[in-house]
């Protein structure tokens, strides 16, 4: 029996390499299951087409077209879908014992969690590419040039980064794909209770107030401003400060949920 040579001894920089190895594992999943990743990427496209062509006719947007309002909202909701897919993936790994097997390897917990978040950022990039293309096909246009457009996409990824950590935490907390389904059910009301699809001005006042302060609304409104798209004029304080809020909300969520996710991973040993 040959004794394999160990390339490196435990060191501080090793977690980056381990995280990259674990990211690669998830990318290999997509290669092994191209149909399921394709369906996940196309699902938001289906929603866009539904809202654009089925409900769009009924939506009267005072300062523009509904398509202009819808696409930034759907880009934001596509980031929210990442929360549910990460929860499900992490819960499945935990239930199937893959997490347990990885824990028998000389790999730090941070590497395991960061590997997952990197893979999800790549997923988000692919999702954004598909959604932006869909938007362009249905004649949505960013009006303000390259830098504001890239800033908007950056804010979307920043929101997704925060959602990833919530998803990792929930996946480790719920532990089985069956209980992760509850997250899938909750994602929809959170998505709708925001300014992503309709203006909070059209909702009952108390509901509109909640929708206005939803982190999704901050990002949706901020990127509408940056793209130069219709904002369906709301004049709340939150809507007028949407860009700083879109930067701040994900920071707050990450500061809460990243440590929680790490703690939950450590609790697997209890």
């Amino acid at each position: 029996m040959s004794t394999p040579t160990v390339a490196a001894t435990p060191g501080s920089g090793l977690w980056v390499r381990d995280a990259a190895t674990l990211t690669r594992r998830i990318l290999l999943h997509w290669r092994q299951r191209p149909v399921s990743i394709a369906l996940a990427l196309l699902f938001p496209v289906l929603i866009v087409l539904m809202f654009r062509y089925l409900f769009g006719g009924a939506m009267a947007v005072p300062d523009g077209t509904y398509t202009d309002y819808l696409i930034p909202g759907m880009l934001t909701i596509a980031m929210l879908f990442g929360l549910e897919s990460v929860t499900l993936a992490v819960a499945t790994d935990t239930a199937k014992g893959v997490t347990e097997r990885i824990r028998t390897m000389p790999v730090s917990g941070i590497a395991v969690l960061v590997g997952r978040s990197w893979a999800d950022l790549i997923d988000a990039l692919a999702g954004l590419a598909v959604m932006v293309t869909t938007g362009l096909v249905v004649e949505w246009r960013p009006e303000h040039g390259l830098v504001p457009t890239l800033t908007a996409l950056g804010l979307l990824l920043w929101l997704r980064f925060a959602f990833t950590w919530i998803g990792i935490y929930l996946g480790l907390l719920l532990k089985t794909p069956e209980s992760a389904v509850t997250v899938q059910v909750l994602v929809w009301p959170i998505g709708f209770l925001s300014s992503a699809l309709v203006s909070p001005d059209t909702m009952p006042a108390w509901l509109g107030a909640i929708a206005t302060w939803n982190p999704l609304s901050a990002t949706a409104t901020a990127i509408r401003d940056l793209f130069g798209n219709s904002t369906w004029a709301t004049h709340s304080w939150a809507a007028n400060h949407s860009v700083p809020l879109a930067a701040l909300w994900p920071a707050v969520l990450t500061l809460i949920f990243l440590p929680l996710a790490y703690r939950q991973y450590r609790l697997l040993a209890r």
Binding site: P4, L22, L28, E100, R101, I102, M105, P106, A269
Partner: protein, 268 residues
């Protein structure tokens, strides 16, 4: 570096509470380097808890343990470079192929990319998985799956191996195949701690048997010593098991059992 360290296992007075339920209650065990210890006991006796603590997956509430010369609580990473675990709860990635799994866990054990690739091919050959190497594990049979589990846990050539009910759920032919692989490993000096519900299995593989019940060792000794101490009624119920196995093998036309051994590998 590794060979300087004694590759044995020591557990001293381990305690573990689950809520108010006692998992382990003063569990102590010594396994000499290069020997096989069978941990035998009913469901809920604490077998898996012992293995999870020794494999650094679970923190004991009290007590000490060392594996291959490293403390499981203070040096978990050093322990992980030196162990393999085939568990009821620790699984390979079923979406990936057998080869991808072996390479993945080799990389996570910090082999170079090239070494991980070579090691994967070597293990696939040795465990009779070369043909299925590039198929998704979801398509594997139970026996192939268990052999891949075993192969994956050997990626770093660990001096200590933990096997948590390695043949549970396998048909007798697959079970005998897994046994042959375990024997081969023991021949190369690996220290093995295995849990099982079957006296037959412990009898086949173990140099030393420890009976666990209620989270502690209730009897310890060689298989022969223990058999001498067990009453005739209980011997009858446990010796029936291999007979049934033989009947099954005979009826399914799998007897005499062909094993992939070193001899047949060499003959290819």
């Amino acid at each position: 570096m590794r060979s300087d360290l004694p590759a044995g296992i020591t557990a001293l007075n381990l305690r573990k509470l689950y809520g108010t339920e006692t998992g382990l209650n003063g569990f102590s065990l010594q396994v000499q380097p290069g020997t096989v210890c069978g941990l035998l006991g009913p469901n809920g006796a604490g077998k898996t808890t012992v293995l999870r603590i020794l494999a650094t997956l679970l923190r004991p509430d009290a007590g000490h343990a060392s594996v291959a010369g490293c403390d499981v609580i203070r040096q978990p990473k050093q322990v992980r470079y030196r162990i393999g675990l085939v568990g009821q709860n620790a699984s390979v990635d079923e979406i990936l192929t057998g080869r991808q799994n072996l390479e993945l866990f080799g990389r996570l054990g910090h082999l170079t990319a090239r070494t991980a690739r070579m090691r994967a091919s070597e293990l696939l050959d040795r465990f009779g998985l070369a043909e299925a190497a590039d198929r998704s594990v979801a398509e594997y049979s139970g026996g192939m799956r268990r052999r891949l589990d075993l192969a994956t846990s050997l990626v770093l050539s660990p001096p200590v191996l933990f096997l948590d009910e390695p043949t549970t759920g396998l048909d007798p032919a697959a079970r005998i195949q897994v046994w042959a692989h375990i024997r081969e490993l023991v021949g190369t000096g690996t220290t093995v701690l295995l849990t099982t519900q079957y006296l037959e299995e412990a009898d086949q593989l173990a140099d030393q048997i420890a009976l666990i019940d209620g989270g502690r060792i209730v009897a310890e000794g060689t298989p022969d010593e223990l058999k001498a101490r067990v009453g005739p009624d209980r011997v009858e119920t446990v010796t029936r098991k291999p007979t049934l196995d033989e009947v099954f093998l005979h009826l399914t036309g799998q007897a005499p059992i062909t094993l992939r051994t070193k001899a047949t590998e060499a003959a290819r």
